[in-house]
Symmetry: C2
Subunit: 222 residues, 2 copies
């Protein structure tokens, strides 16, 4: 158990170092030696966890995957919205998520398959939209996979624009504005009227998840 803990800590130290170096230098220019120097681990430990630069990048790319899924909600469209705004919140607050998103948009990263995060986010979105459809929350013409792709693609660009213009300071407002433009083509009006897409939603969802997590730690394992 202690040994496993240490392996997790080492892996995390390596990924944090890789994220930092990829972010500063770009995938193409980054070298394993630099990552090694920043991580402060042995060469053996690094190659044990990640046999190549590509594996390191894949590891960082996975760090934007949804960690704590949004709990079930009566309204599944709200759950989809919460997934989107929480990701925006993490972009503002978590350097690892930021590095991961930047890497997936690094068009100079030759030989690196950057499709993973796009495909995984699309899958998360498609699943939620299919559920919302069954619950009657969507307009009848909606194709869940197509709409999920639009949401994922549009979000990627809105975050890039916010980053280029003001280093993410206006990201919650821009994401709220994007949802205001997309949802009326997707969601039935009665659901639209109840969904919270204001710019404070991301921080509120994060607080909710932290409270749920703290509560789960207090429950004795039976």
């Amino acid at each position: 158990m202690v040994k496993q803990d240490r392996a997790i800590r080492t892996r995390h130290a390596i990924l944090t170092a890789a994220a930092k170096v990829f972010e500063e230098r770009g995938y193409q220019a980054a070298t394993i030696s630099e990552i090694l120097a920043v991580a402060g681990v042995t060469k053996g430990a690094l190659y044990f966890h990640f046999p190549s630069k590509e594996h390191l990048a894949e590891g960082v790319l996975h760090e934007q995957d949804q960690r704590l899924p949004i709990p079930e909600r009566p309204c599944t469209v709200q759950r989809l919205v919460d997934t989107v705004v929480l990701h925006a919140y993490h972009l503002q607050t978590d350097p690892m998520v930021r590095a991961s998103v930047r890497l997936s948009l690094d068009q100079q990263a030759q030989g690196l398959d950057r499709s993973g995060p796009f495909l995984r986010w699309s899958e998360v979105g498609t699943e939620l939209l299919e559920k919302a459809q069954v619950q009657g929350e969507l307009l009848s013409h909606v194709n869940p996979a197509e709409t999920a792709d639009v949401v994922v693609g549009a979000f990627a660009g809105v975050q890039a624009m916010s980053q280029a213009l003001c280093n993410y300071q206006d990201l919650p407002r821009r994401v709220s504005c994007l949802l205001q433009h997309l949802l009326p083509s997707v969601v039935v009006p009665s659901v639209l009227a109840t969904v919270d897409i204001t710019e404070h939603r991301g921080a509120a969802v994060q607080t909710e998840l932290e409270a749920l997590h703290a509560a789960s730690l207090r429950v004795p394992v039976s």
Copy 2:
């Protein structure tokens, strides 16, 4: 006149070389010496046109600016749509536009102000939407500047996703799908019913502009 022609050709050769090097190496890793070697011009000529790497990048970033504006149309929303789908068409067909868009999303480009293309496209979109608003084509709640920002940001991400997944092969379909999701929140239904946002629109607009350009060359200057 001949001298000016040569200057234009030299400037173009330098920008083409800069685009190629930035695309291959990223802004951060690219050097003026490499660009010089690819361009095949003298050091003096290069520094005359572009005194620094940042100036070279700014030059490439300007290459995605709208070159031939879409002509006036009875429906200004169609003109906006045509501006968007033509840009998508150029992304598929023009390496310089592609290099420019990649550079504006290069988050490793430290010290380079990448806000220019976002702001200029937003301005183009805002102007068209303000005109459409005056013509009664927009829903009454629409804020032209906000909607323009959503369109520009969302487009940037949809193109990045198409590039990462299939090197732009499905870009026209994705852009058409994005417009299907955005326009119903922006445009009055009677206008929506007449606007062509199919995936073949970009190539059609390009053909139209080429014909207009060819015709203008045949008209004697009075």
